[in-house]
Symmetry: C2
Subunit: 245 residues, 2 copies
């Protein structure tokens, strides 16, 4: 048995939905709990970012041949890229072809950092336009634009390209956009403001990431604790449990 400080670690890379993943009921914290004693979970979530802006961070985050690369990473962008031109969030808009190309650049940079990294791509969640409008009214009152800054249909186009990219480069993916819409009442059940996740929505992401990690050979049950469990320690000879096997 080795008892390293440097556990395997997983990196969650994305926008605000990743940034908030350690909030109450968040999917990132739940993932850290699932891998308790086995792997660390680090968050690199950038609220408001699209795939164009995040490219500027790649060389720092994933330098070529990096010393201690993550064992797995999630790429979870698109909710901001899919903001519609001519509406309130247009500055975040990225054309869908560029979105797909940017995702590919991110994947390539991660694989250059470590060819063995398990990279998982997650589509943006669906958009509840009614929820977005309510949210805009709560912020801007009557001045809120009548036309939604994101629509479920357009975000779906981005989700489709996200999946297409994952298939082309043979990466596992989570089709969150489709999956969530299979549940009756997904609009309020999974989304708090039409875009961000409720605790139930976080739970869906957590379950899906656990599933693809397991299918990719990184199931928590398949990993060892890097220390003896306390029940395996003989209180009269504790040193025995810590000898390397």
């Amino acid at each position: 048995m080795v008892l390293p400080m440097n556990r395997p670690h997983f990196l969650l890379f994305g926008d605000s939905i990743t940034e908030k993943s350690f909030g109450p009921g968040g999917w990132g914290a739940a993932l850290a709990n699932t891998y308790s004693g086995k792997a660390d979970v680090l968050v690199r979530g950038y609220g408001g970012y699209n795939t164009r802006w995040v490219l500027f961070l790649l060389n720092r985050l994933f330098p070529p041949n990096c010393r201690t690369p993550p064992d797995a990473a999630t790429i979870f962008f698109g909710a901001n890229d899919a903001a519609i031109l001519g509406r309130t969030s247009e500055r975040q808009h990225v054309p869908v072809d560029e979105y797909k190309a940017n995702l590919h650049k991110i994947v390539k940079q991660m694989k250059n950092c470590s060819p063995t990294m398990l990279v998982v791509v997650i589509t943006p969640p669906p958009v509840d336009e009614h929820g977005r409008k309510e949210y805009a009214r709560s912020l801007y009152g009557e001045k809120a634009m009548e036309l939604p800054e994101r629509t479920n249909e357009i975000t779906g186009i981005y989700a489709k390209q996200c999946i297409e990219l994952a298939r082309e480069v043979h990466l596992p993916y989570v089709d969150l956009w489709s999956l969530m819409q299979e549940t009756e009442g997904w609009q309020k059940k999974f989304l708090s403001d039409g875009l961000h996740l409720t605790e139930a929505g976080n739970s869906v992401v957590h379950q899906e990431v656990v599933r693809v990690f397991r299918e990719g050979g990184l199931g928590a049950d398949d990993m060892q604790h890097d220390f003896p469990l306390h029940i395996d320690i003989d209180s009269h000879m504790p040193e025995k449990a810590f000898h390397k096997k």
Copy 2:
């Protein structure tokens, strides 16, 4: 502006109360959320461990002059050391003088790893003997021992020695044992089974750790994000925001 992958990081070192700190409503996850975009939080929680057993892990966790030491660490042991001899959890018992000496060894090892590390000592929480008995009955039924395996009075003796050590070596500390008992109904409000923390109990630990970190110069508000906020990015010239200042 530098955009490092290697953010400051905080290490939470302790027993099951630390191990479970990324569970629902956990204080570790809340701390990670408080320092979102500014510092990483790593958990090294060892369920059931006392300070005697955890010494075997120290050289791996905190090697002398380690390359990337934590910027801050919490030491949160004592709940198991205070298990009473001759009762169901006696194998975890560590005499109180040894407990204090072991804490000192942990502190010294951390400071050898990095003299500038902000080390915070946390006392064990109070014990609700009635809650422990209910919990034992739920596990063992009528076979449950009538005498509690931990008492609040004895755990209080350990808490006192924990504080004395912190004062002797001039470290900030959280007197969780006393603090929680200032609240009416602490037994059920803060403890789920007489020993582990409810969400409200987790919240107390989170608030206290945030306080001592802030007082130690590591307040989240005093730390910079290591990336530009999206509102500071000019969508027509995004590269500007990423140039090093």
